[in-house]
C-alpha cells in the first residue's frame, strides 16, 4: 500500500499518461510500452506537489451525461457565436459578470471555470476562491441573472452532485 502510494501517488494520472503515450506513438510495441511505463511513473512523481487533493467521482453516470452535455453545448454555442461574429457588431452586448460559487473544492471550481471557457460565448477570467466567485466575460449577455442561473443549473449543480462537494 505504502510502496504503491510512493511509486504511483496519482494512479489515474499514471494510467492517462501511459494511455496517451501509446496513442501518440501509435505503435504497440514492447519499447513504447516500456517508455510509456517509465513516463507514467516519473511524471506524476515530478509533478506531485502541484496536484491538489482531487475529490473522487461519486456519480460516474452523471459525469458521462455532463460530458455529453458540454460537447453538445460547445457545438450549439459555436453556431450562436458564429452568428454574432458575422452579424452587426452593434447588436452584441459584451459584459463582465461575477458567478457566485457554491463549490468549495478548488479542483471542481477549476473544472467549472474550464467548462465556462470551453462553451463559447463565455470565458472565465479569474477564479476568486476567497470571495468564492468566478469572474466571467460574456460575449453577448442580455440578462445577467439569467446567464448566471443557466451556468449554475447546467454545469455547477451536476458537478456538485458528481463530486458530492
Amino acid at each position: 500500500m505504502t510502496i504503491r502510494k510512493r511509486l504511483l501517488p496519482q494512479p489515474f494520472v499514471s494510467v492517462a499518461v501511459l494511455g496517451l503515450w501509446l496513442v501518440m506513438v501509435s505503435a504497440f510495441t514492447l519499447g513504447s510500452l516500456l517508455m510509456g511505463a517509465i513516463l507514467a511513473v516519473l511524471i506524476p512523481l515530478f509533478t506531485q506537489r502541484f496536484w491538489p487533493d482531487r475529490p473522487l467521482v461519486r456519480r460516474p453516470v452523471l459525469a458521462v451525461r455532463l460530458f455529453l452535455r458540454v460537447c453538445f453545448d460547445i457545438v450549439l454555442a459555436n453556431w450562436e457565436v458564429a452568428r454574432l461574429v458575422l452579424g452587426p457588431i452593434g447588436r452584441i452586448h459584451p459584459r463582465f459578470f461575477d458567478l457566485p460559487l457554491d463549490i468549495d473544492d478548488p479542483f471542481v471550481a477549476t473544472l467549472l471555470a474550464s467548462i465556462i471557457s470551453l462553451t463559447p460565448g463565455t470565458v472565465s477570467v479569474d477564479i476568486d476562491t476567497e470571495a468564492r466567485l468566478i469572474h466571467v466575460h460574456g460575449l453577448n449577455v442580455g440578462d445577467e441573472g439569467a446567464a448566471i442561473a443557466a451556468i449554475k443549473a447546467r454545469y455547477e449543480a451536476p458537478l456538485k452532485e458528481i463530486f458530492q462537494c
Binding site: V81, V85, P94, L118, H137
Partner: protein, 101 residues
C-alpha cells in the same frame, strides 16, 4: 467503391465545416471591438473548427485502411485542455493590466 466515396464526402464536409469555423474565428478576431470580445474568437476556432478537422483526419485515416487512428483523439484532448487555460491567462493578464492603468 461506394464506401470510399461516402467517407470522402464525410471528410470533405467536415473539412469545410472546420475551415469555416476557423475562418469565422479569424473574422471575429478582426471585427470585435475590444480585447475581451476578441478573446472569444480563439476559443471558437479551436473547439469546433479544429475539432471538425481532427474528426475529418480520424475518418480519413480510419477509412483508408490504417485501422482506427486514435492519435486525433489525443490532439483534440490536448486542445480542449489548453484552450481554456490560454483564454483564462489572457483574460487575467489583460484584467490586471487595465486595473493598473
Amino acid at each position: 467503391m461506394m464506401e470510399a466515396t461516402l467517407s470522402e464526402v464525410v471528410v470533405s464536409v467536415l473539412l469545410l465545416v472546420g475551415a469555416g469555423f476557423a475562418l469565422v474565428g479569424s473574422i471575429g478576431l478582426a471585427r470585435m471591438p475590444d480585447f475581451f470580445t476578441r478573446m472569444h474568437a480563439p476559443t471558437k476556432a479551436t473547439t469546433l473548427g479544429v475539432g471538425a478537422i481532427v474528426v475529418a483526419s480520424l475518418v480519413f485515416h480510419s477509412s483508408s485502411g490504417g485501422g482506427l487512428s486514435l492519435r486525433e483523439l489525443a490532439i483534440s484532448l490536448f486542445l480542449f485542455i489548453t484552450a481554456p487555460l490560454v483564454g483564462h491567462l489572457l483574460g487575467k493578464a489583460a484584467l490586471r493590466g487595465t486595473r493598473k492603468d
